[in-house]
Structures are given as structure tokens and as C-alpha cells.
Amino acid sequence: MRALRVPVLALLVLLVAFPVYVTLTTAFLSPAAVAAGRLWPDPREFTLDNVHAALQSIPLLRQYGVSAAVTVLQAGSQVLLAALAAYALVFPSWRGRGLALALFLATLAVPGESTVIPNYETVTSLGLRDTVLAVALPFLCAAYPVFLLRQAFADLPREVWEAATLDGAGHLRTLVRIVLPMARGHVATAALWSALAAWNGYFWPLLITDSPDARTVQVGLSQLVVAEGSTPGVVYAGTLVVLLPTLLLVLCGQRFLVRGLAARQS
């Protein structure tokens, strides 16, 4: 089995790396070079024209800012509220705790589609349509991070919480100083999950905004795709620009996650 490990891993790497390679090369090739369909293009064929065209077509940089704001707001809020909820669901004993957890979990089964129209009407009635806040508003709290952190907190030794309580630490102090540092791997996982979902969101930001300046970069990217004949190089260049923060987030976060998990195991 060990002998198979390297070829299997190599195959998996190829499966992941190949689309990235195609995206990279296509983004920097002229339409003629793309049409030629060469797997290993001549380096002299590379050009920055597509990136330039993508940046010219839509206010990508402005929309980058909106996406970043929405991502920070949404992910930050989700992790904060999830930590508070998970703490309440694990440590203090209170009647109905199990039912509350079941209700959180039940929301995971609700299809996102069914909440679109009610959310649209609610946000519109608040007079917030076409604002950056409206993009993040319905997603400031989410069930999955609550579930994730609840499981992580439940795995922590309860004696630590009891010791903190005996020492006179309040709930907030216990959460911030004791519980969260011990569960930092899971907190990072929840933050990454929330941030990726926020950055990649498309339909809701499109639905609730009208002005280019209030829109996220994913909505801007869609403008490069034309129903009756796109220029692949420009679309790939835009995709690459939009993809970069996500890739960086995963690469940096992955290292942190591994360290956090390793620390727990030791």
C-alpha cells in the first residue's frame, strides 16, 4: 500500500493543479493563442492584455473593497455569534439546551432558496437595498459555525471551565481567555469557512444590489461572461484576479489549521 501512496498522491495533485494551470495560462494568452489549444504555449505568446481588459470592463478594484468588507463583517460576526452560542450550549446548564441545539441544527436543513424572497422583502422594508450592509445582513449568523464550535467546546475538559468558574471568572472572560484559545483550530476553521462562503457569494449580492459600487467582485466577474460568445482569456484573467484572495486564504489558513490541530493532539 505504501508503494501506491506516491503515485496516488501525484495523481491527486495533478487533478487539482491542472485546472489551475489551464486558468493561469489562458489568462495570459491572446485569443489566437488560446484557440490554438497548445498545452505548453510559447512564453513569447504571453500577454497582460486580458488582465487589462478585465480591469477595464468592470470596477474590479472597488468591488474588491466591497467583497473584503462583506467578508470581514460576515465572517467576523458569524464567528463571534457562533462562539457565544456554542459556549451557552455547552458550559452553563439550563433547561431547553438540547432543544436549542436541535433548533440550530434544524436550520441547516432549510434550503437557502426558500429564504431568498423573505430576506429580500425584509431587507427592502428596512430601506437597506443596494447597500453593502444589505449584502452581509442575512448572513451575520449561521448555524454551521455554531455546530462546529459547539462540538469543539464539548470536547474540552469540563474541569477547566469549572476551575475558571471557581476562580471567579465570568462567562465572557472564560470564553475569551480560556475556551477560545484552547479551540483555536476550530475557530480558525469556522472563520475560514465563513470567509470563503462570504467571498464566493453570488446570487444574494446580485439580488439585493443595483449599483456597481455596492456590488461584490463575484457579481462583477459575471459581467465578463457573455451569453453569445465570451473571450475566454478575459474571463480567466478576471477569475484569476478574483480567485487570488481565496487561494491565499486557504494556503495561509491551512498552515494555521494544521498547527492548531497538531497542538491539540499533543
Binding site: A32, S114, V116, E121, F203, V226, A227, E228
Partner: protein, 463 residues
Amino acid sequence: MRHPTRRAVTAALLAAPALAACSSGSSDASGAGPSRSAPGPDALASAGPQSVVLWHGLGGAAGAALTAVLDAWNAAPGTPGVTVQAVYQGNYDDVLAKYTAALRDGSTPHVLLSSDITTGFVKDAGQTVSASALATANPGDLDLGALRPAAKNYYTVGGDLLSVPFNTSLPLLYANDALLSRAGVDPASLTTVAGLDAAARAVAAKVPGVKGFCHPTADGWWFEQVTAAAGDLYVTPDNGRSGTGATALSLGGSAQREALELLTKLHVDGTALVVGTNGDAAIQAFASGQVALMFNSSGAIGSLAKTGATGWSTHPLPLSGPAGTSGPLIGGASLWVDGKHEPAAQVAAWKVVSHLASAAVQERFSQASGYAPVNVGVDDSPTQREFLAKNPAWAVAVEQFDSAATSPATAGALTGALPGIRSVVVPAMDKAYGGDETLDAALDEAAQAAGTVISDYREQAGL
């Protein structure tokens, strides 16, 4: 947290057409949809400045061209006091999803540019006022007689032009001239589906490593094209244009059946290249000389030109039915004026629509975007003649547009269920093209599934 996907949300939103159809007071009893009465110029004259919002789904060069035209309008308004703001709302599916959501809270735009296949849905929503009514009430604006019959035909129900075609594409057959020459194929033989079949087979047999034909099944448009080119109806009765609309998919025409059989055989025996649903993949295959003949929209001319490919030509859609009734279907989108806004806003919106369909704007937009001009006045323009002389591929599309037969078959299917019909017909036909199912089985499957889609839609829309 989960963000719903676009396709799922569109499906979810379209599953509730009744919200629109039933909530409207302007829908008439026969389901003809838009109101037939419209405000006239007095409404605008007695009101203050108007700001018109236009929603569209045009990206790339077409979106930029539309923005440029409207920026010019705002900078030097054709009508004092009317300004217009164009808002991109995603692709055509997204535009419809957003429009459906907006119907709920009355936040629909003054003008909606919606794709051809959404015509039935927007009509059933009953929120719009017909172009015929607006043109009658405002004789000083757009002359509907200046619009090409083939374009008007698609958007007309019971003699009432519901919306004004703006960006109009046409189906074309693209040919690699050198490959046809090497195979000894006379381009004059490409006027029929049988000729296309013979040409594709000749190329595949005589030119090593090259496929004869490719056909992006992208969105079901091509199955509708094959049906119209056979002179047959796609939905019954009367392609959904009489009574209370379409009740079933029609796959019974003999010419339609023969054409589909030829295309299926080309794929099953490997003469054709399977490019799947991706129109861009077809363009790349054609541009790189992997395939000699290609069905694609006239909108692909620009993309193909950008690849630097040379030695190709365009030809009208090959027909398989009678000359007088068979022909191409248009694609693209049309402009709808919302009837729920104040009368002054409706007239202002109509002035914007009139401007966008005018000969001058259509020429400018067409040349910048690659769509065909819908106004016949463009034909008299010296600059357009010069443009077509330099762009023969484009001239074929315009000639085909102008000479297309106008019949119930070429009017195309009119039903709000059309997006849903496409979503079941394409997978069924892909099974036939892949050799996984016989054509008969695929057609039966498509007809049954489409029947369910249509009856569900009719029930939800209260038709």
C-alpha cells in the same frame, strides 16, 4: 451559512409564477397578458423630469455598447427631462430571477430587457404594457413598421407586439472554407440539413483528424432552431400563440424528425465533434481547425474574429422544411415597458425604448456588439453598407434576418415554461447524441418531461 446557487434560485423563483400572474390586475381574461391601453404624450408633458431605470443582462461588448448609447442619451437627452440609468443584473437567468423577486414588492424597473425565451413568463406576469398600445398612443415615437418582421414575429401574440426587440441574434452555419475545399464540398450545398449532413461526412472521410460538424447543445435553442427550420411547431397548439397558450411539446413533425435523426447520427457515428453544452468550446474547436462546420449564434462572429482565425465563412441556417414556412428563430432579448409605474414614467420609458430601437442607435449598437439591427432603416445607411461590405460574415446574418419567413413555426414557442422545457429536452437529446438512448426514446422522454413542466407551469400561473 449557505448561499443558494443561481440555477437553484432561478428554478425556485420560477416555480412561483402565479405570484406574478395572479397579482396583476392588468392581465386580461384570455391570458393575453399586457394591457392594451397606454398613456400618451400628455402624461409626460404635464409631469416633471423623469428618471428611467433599465435592467439588462448584457455583459462584455454588448453591455459596454448599451451603456455608451445611454450615456450619450443622458449627456444630450433626446427628450428634455428624461434620463436613464442602465443596471446590469447578471445573465439572462439572473435578470429574470431578480425581476421575479421585484414583482413581489413592486420594485420592478421602468424598462426590462429580458431574453427571448422569457417572453411567455413576462407576458404572464401581466406587469407590462404592450409595445403596440404604447406605439398607438404615442405616434410621434417608434414606428413599429420599421422593425423587421422576423423580430416582431417572435414577440407578437394575437397581433399585439408585446415588447420591442433590441439585441437580436440569429443562428448561422459557420464553415471552414479550406477544409470544405479539400473534401470537395460545394458551399452551395449547405442550404439544407441533408446537404450539411453530406458535407460533414465528406470532410470527416477525406480530411484526416478533422471532424465534420459541431453543434453546441448549450441551451436548447438549437433543437428549437431545427424544428423551426423544418417548418414545424415546437409546442402545441399554435406554438403557444393562441387560446390560453401551450399545453404540450410537439415532436411529431416528419421534417423535424428527419433533421434530428441526421444530426443524431452524425454524433453517434463520430462524424460530429461532441462539444457538450459549451458554446465557447465549439468556437475554439472551429477556430483551431478541428472541425469544419459549426452551428453557432451570429453573436459568435466577434469571438471568432478575435481568435485570429481566417478562411471561414457564414451561411444561413440549413432548412429542411417548406420554403414559405420554415426558417430561423431569432435569439437575444427585447425591451418591456412596465405598466405599474406612473403614466408619465411609462411614456418616458417608451421614449427610451423608441430611442434604443431607432435606426441610428441600432446601427451603432449592432456594429459594436455583433447583434443584428432590428430596424430596417439601418439598411439605408451608407456607413452600414460599408460595414457589411467589410464584414461579409455579418452580412449573411442580416440578409437571413431580412429574408426570413414569418410563420407560426418561425415565431417560436411562446410559453413561460420554456426555460423548464429546455432543462429537460437538452439532457434527453444529449443521451441520443451520446448513443445512450435511441432518438425515439429520447424524444419520448423529452415530450413526457416537458409535458409535466408545462402542466406544472400552467397550474401555478393559473392558466
